[in-house]
Symmetry: C2
Subunit: 413 residues, 2 copies
Amino acid sequence: MFMWSGAIKYIRLEEGLKAIDLHVKQLLPVEEVEIPDAYGRFLAEDLISKIDVPPCDIAHFDGYALRSSDVEQASLTNPVKLRVKARLYPSTKEPVSLEPGEAAYVATGSPMPMGADGVLPVEASVVKGEYLEVRHRVRPGDHVIKAGNDMRQGEVVLRRGHRLRGQDLALLALMGLARVKVFSRPRVCIIPVGDELTDEGNALRPGEVPCSHALMISSFVLRDGGAPLRFARVPDDLSLISEAVIKAANLSDLVLTIGGASRGEKDLVATAISRIDGAKIVFHGIMTRPGRQTGFAVINGKPLVMLPGLVQSTIVGYQLIARRVMFKLMGLEVDDLTIKAKMACDLRLPQPRGFKRVVFVKLDRDGNSYRAWPLIGESALLSIPVRAHGYVLFDEGLDHVEKDSMVDVYLLY
Amino acid sequence: MFMWSGAIKYIRLEEGLKAIDLHVKQLLPVEEVEIPDAYGRFLAEDLISKIDVPPCDIAHFDGYALRSSDVEQASLTNPVKLRVKARLYPSTKEPVSLEPGEAAYVATGSPMPMGADGVLPVEASVVKGEYLEVRHRVRPGDHVIKAGNDMRQGEVVLRRGHRLRGQDLALLALMGLARVKVFSRPRVCIIPVGDELTDEGNALRPGEVPCSHALMISSFVLRDGGAPLRFARVPDDLSLISEAVIKAANLSDLVLTIGGASRGEKDLVATAISRIDGAKIVFHGIMTRPGRQTGFAVINGKPLVMLPGLVQSTIVGYQLIARRVMFKLMGLEVDDLTIKAKMACDLRLPQPRGFKRVVFVKLDRDGNSYRAWPLIGESALLSIPVRAHGYVLFDEGLDHVEKDSMVDVYLLY
């Protein structure tokens, strides 16, 4: 059993992330779901097309399919007459073939008749009785989508780890698939810790604080594709915390505790974890502000993140550490798109300068670019992330950021 | 009854949006939901705090609360002794008050004792028996969060129309609320039209195309906070289309048809709508490419968007028109954050130059900035939006975009 010394040792964020990569090895199980249920899920395998899409050449315009060699000499003064042999639609099942001198009406999306290699758009077509008069040259391939142009048989169309969007589901359907392999949703147990906690929604009395942070983290887990499982709040009691953690580790893929992660006399989470057989505290304390009390442990192979209780540090611990673990359970890296913005004013970064500093920012538009307004205040203040669109992660060593510097804003949606 | 002439008249996108604003007047009903169920919902009223948060002054550090006037002269050589009268935690229910010469232990988040106005951090505290030796001056307000510092009673903390995120739910809970007023999810009926359509998930035969677009649009509606209702596919038949539209308009807040919106002989959606009593086609045809066949109608007050069937135009019609209607049903404007990127190469924009052109782009990183790679191909190709992170909307009149020009990328997630 690993005994945690209790000494405060803050490690660099990068070291923390490396430790996570080392300790989180086992991937989530894979499940097969029906395509309509796959929205927002993460692909568990590279997706290779088993067919050409479209499966045959199709018309990309309403018009007349023809053999381009028939109309090489066609012009306004020298129209070429072709017999209209058939009418084709996307729903046409029987194959049609064109001999020289023949054409066929095709609606957009129709299979091209055999022998035809170009389409004369309907706007340029003159039809007289059963004959089409062609007054323009049509080149091979004009207004035709070739078989396999959208996707080729054997082509990797989506990569493992890709989070499925609407257009991706459409693609799976178009490939004729009924089901797709995705990673199971990570089951994330959230345990709020603290004597003062009450269920939310009650009138507040002195000495009571609603479990608001668990609700917030639960929404973040949902947003990130996980299945949150909110546990009953646990008081500041060593045995009760240990019990809840053991139970949660059995039920879930990732345990998140909230609160009790600091160094005060009622901060019992780390000690409670260190007393569990098979538990190892990998780190407790990272060099970020807020969020420095964040910890990471492994309980018989199950990862656990200790999130601090002051709300801005809870958010930072989740965004920088807990999400990383969730993604690692699928063999993935977190890779957020960021919004470029200009700092709206000078900003003196909070101490200690050896830490990475997270600053919440509110965005507005300034002509064609975004401006980021820093929102500064004690890390217990929830109104700051509420007013923020996102946050900027400033590197260690920086003291000061000048007005109009470009920063990368991570969205907090 | 409005009779639609059938003549092709493309209107400018801006005109189309104005027409939507004019015709979509009625807001969605408001419902009250429990806070944990409010994630992703849109606030139906400005939210005003009924209480101060925190409700009283609280300690922001583990340490000793004291009266700053007692320790004005305190220094290393002149320590001041205070009697430790009580220990306070966030869960402490009974009020405590300090007389001159007294201090109280406070854990982070504890209510400040009456009379106390500053906190000496535990790291700086020397305790001997029941006495605290203060060797540093503490100023009024040191390490104290004042009542109302996070939110003041009467303050508007969130605006009507705001989409609720995790941190916002936490705030509602912290305000002691159990329920919150949100707009009902817009019920969006999606009707795929076409003889060739089959249910997805079957092996594909000639003349059959899976209902992939409806699945895609359904996911987009979910993403945007709506409740999609997928209707059975409808063949290219005037009466059946009219019937389906009437039924859908009765069941939903917004009807979306997919396909049959072009000008071919089997494009019957506009005609079918124009035959419905009380239906008015407001516009059919917008000057965007792809997406120019998009239409907008009102059926006895219910909005309907005709989405074209070529997949890139389906997407553009949804993003530019249908979403606008969905948001308008809540009295809101679409206001997407965009990613700034540099064009990765020169790009000749497709004709006609009098139209706005939507170009799908794939992003990658180039040092500290994003590069946008245009993905060009016929609007029937689904692989293009699948490979894209988003799209750029280029203004009419532009012919050519130079490498390294900055563009705004709308994400297609």
